[in-house]
């Protein structure tokens, strides 16, 4: 009996080991496969975007307003400027509040209220953008009685605040405590220390957070549908409907006209270039700066 036992052990051990080795290799293969499957759409999207977009971008696209259906030519100049306008409004409203909230969380928020605000910010981050659009509609559009650039700006600002608040907090927490103590030791009041020492030291990190939030809302379409609404003409008045690049892409993409499809691709390429440039610049700046957290 012991002999057969021994034999079976000798027979099974290499067998099991082989099976385990095969499983190990197979799982490595599966992991590589998932990476390939994830990267394929990414490259497919970029390749197709460049392929369709480059052929469609021309001087007219960047300088003219849309032509009526059926007429060739025209462009999205008003939408590009409109997007910039709405984003500027959103930044003016959202950045100070976001940075302020971040400062509060980092410097004064080590308590119950701080935890509540932190949690609220994270939850707000997950609210669907279309719901934010409804709220901006209810607050701004209903009281003004018409769609406006301001309403779009308010919607995007609400989306920017939580992101900026959380990244600002994180960046401020990276500033060494010794710096703050040194300032207190010199008799500098706390508010002054926060603004001139802590915030100043963390500037590059805070700007990173702002740029990330900016890049995130720059491509947003849903909250603009019934706030900024879109416009076929130039508009730079705060209380009038305004064109925006993502809105224009959406309208053109679901239209049945080839000429509009072509322009949608051109618009998408312009939008992507703007966003990727912003994200890449941020990554580059982060890697060079002192703050390597992102």
């Amino acid at each position: 009996m012991p002999e057969t036992d021994k034999a079976s052990v000798l027979h099974t051990v290499p067998h099991i080991a082989l099976r385990r080795r095969i499983t190990d290799h197979a799982m490595t293969g599966v992991a590589v496969l998932t990476v390939i499957l994830v990267l394929v759409p990414l490259f497919a999207i970029f390749a197709y975007l460049v392929y369709r977009g480059v052929g469609s971008i021309n001087w007219a696209f960047l300088t003219q307003t849309p032509k009526p259906v059926g007429e060739a030519g025209g462009g999205m100049a008003n939408a590009i400027v409109g997007s910039a306008f709405i984003l500027a409004l959103a930044s003016i409203l959202g950045v100070p509040v976001g940075v302020g909230a971040g400062i509060y969380l980092a410097e004064f928020g080590r308590n119950r209220l701080g935890d509540v605000i932190r949690f609220t910010a994270d939850v707000l981050n997950g609210v669907p953008s279309i719901v934010i659009g409804i709220v901006a509609y209810a607050i701004v559009v209903l009281s003004q009685k018409h769609f406006s650039a301001l309403a779009g700006g308010v919607a995007l600002a609400i989306m920017m605040v939580p992101t900026i608040a959380r990244t600002t907090e994180e960046m401020l927490l990276l500033v060494p405590q010794a710096l703050r103590e040194a300032a207190y030791g010199l008799g500098i009041p706390r508010w002054r220390t926060t603004l001139s020492i802590t915030l100043r030291t963390a500037t590059s990190g805070v700007i990173t957070g702002i740029m990330l939030a900016f890049a995130r809302v720059a491509g947003e379409t849903a909250p603009l549908l019934f706030t900024a609404f879109g416009n076929q003409f130039w508009n730079l008045r705060v209380n009038q409907p305004t064109a925006a690049l993502p809105l224009q892409i959406f309208t053109y993409a679901i239209s049945p006209y080839d000429e509009w499809h072509r322009q949608a691709w051109a618009g998408a390429l312009v939008l992507i270039i703007l966003i990727v440039t912003a994200v890449a610049a941020v990554r580059f700046a982060v890697r060079r700066g002192t703050f390597g957290a992102a």
């Binding site: 994830v38 609220t120 994270d122 279309i130 509609y137 019934f226």
Partner: protein
């Protein structure tokens, strides 16, 4: 500063207040029947949200079904298997997926994914898996299936970046202990890493779900926008977010608008619960670590 902090709270309160206030007349008119009704008839002012709820749930779960294995695979590969040299570029590329705006995904889906589905994938699925009843009907491409696929591509970066983060905080000695017991690399990952990271990975998945539930533009562009409940994934559907996108600015009449806002309120409440749950899970795992700037 405190004022800015309180502004964050105020925003949430404001969102709830406006949604509840403005959905009042629909609530009074339909009550709970609103969520069980299958008719969406703006002309006769009869509103039932069930087809939209169904569409949102089915498309999101379809997306999870596709995205979860892929995301975990990518996260495991980048943290445990790949050469250190590849790690940076790989996570950069996956992050890049997150930077593409929703409307651009939709554009790509209309002109690339839909033709691909209707010409190759859907005929193939209906030949091989038609007997399940999930893959029957004319393969037009525009379908629940298309919405699920595009959503999956969009939530992969979220799930995989959080999973990666969670895997990275698993203590190194767990891995060393598994290897010292003679485990192969995969066994080490399964026993030493994934098992310890379960709660955090779950959090990432739920966060992805939250994103999928509220995603609007890309879904609106491919799902077909028909308020019907069909078993086949080839049939067009409609989601809560896309009915808002399509009909909100054209809603005539108080009850119509109010019904749409009630859908918005329901969507908001669901995503709040889902996100709060996810955050709690991720927090318990990465507590003390950097909370990071994803999402």
């Amino acid at each position: 500063m405190l004022l800015c902090g309180l502004a964050v709270l105020a925003m949430l309160v404001l969102i709830v207040y406006e949604l509840v206030l403005r959905s009042g007349s629909s609530w009074r008119a339909f009550g709970f029947k609103f969520f069980a009704g299958r008719d969406w008839d703006p002309v006769n002012e009869q509103f039932g949200a069930l087809p939209f709820i169904y569409g949102t749930l089915v498309s999101s779960f379809l997306a999870l079904l596709i995205a979860v294995p892929l995301s975990i695979g990518v996260a495991v590969f980048t943290t445990e298997m790949c050469p250190a040299m590849l790690r940076g570029p790989l996570s950069f590329f996956v992050e890049l997926l997150a930077a593409i705006p929703s409307v651009v995904y939709g554009l790509w889906a209309i002109f690339v994914l839909i033709p691909l589905l209707s010409n190759y994938i859907e005929p193939f699925l209906s030949r091989t898996l038609g007997w399940t009843g999930l893959f029957v009907g004319p393969p037009y491409g525009i379908s629940m299936l298309a919405a699920g696929i595009i959503l999956a591509i969009m939530i992969i970066p979220i799930i995989s970046s959080i999973t990666r983060e969670v895997l990275m905080v698993v203590p190194q000695h767990q891995r060393e202990a598994a290897l010292a017991l003679g485990a192969t690399r995969w066994e080490m990952i399964r026993v030493g890493v994934l098992r310890n990271a379960r709660a955090g990975i779950m959090g990432g998945i739920i966060l992805g779900l939250g994103r999928a539930l509220g995603e609007t533009m890309a879904v609106t562009m491919v799902i077909g926008n028909r308020p019907e409940i069909a078993k086949s994934l080839f049939a067009p559907g409609y989601t809560m977010a896309s009915v808002l996108a399509n009909e909100f600015s054209e809603a005539t009449g108080n009850v119509y608008l109010s019904a749409l806002i009630e859908i918005g309120l329901a969507l908001f409440l669901v995503t709040i619960v889902v996100n709060a749950l996810a955050r709690l899970l991720v927090w318990t795992v990465t507590r003390g670590q950097s909370a990071s700037a994803h999402a």
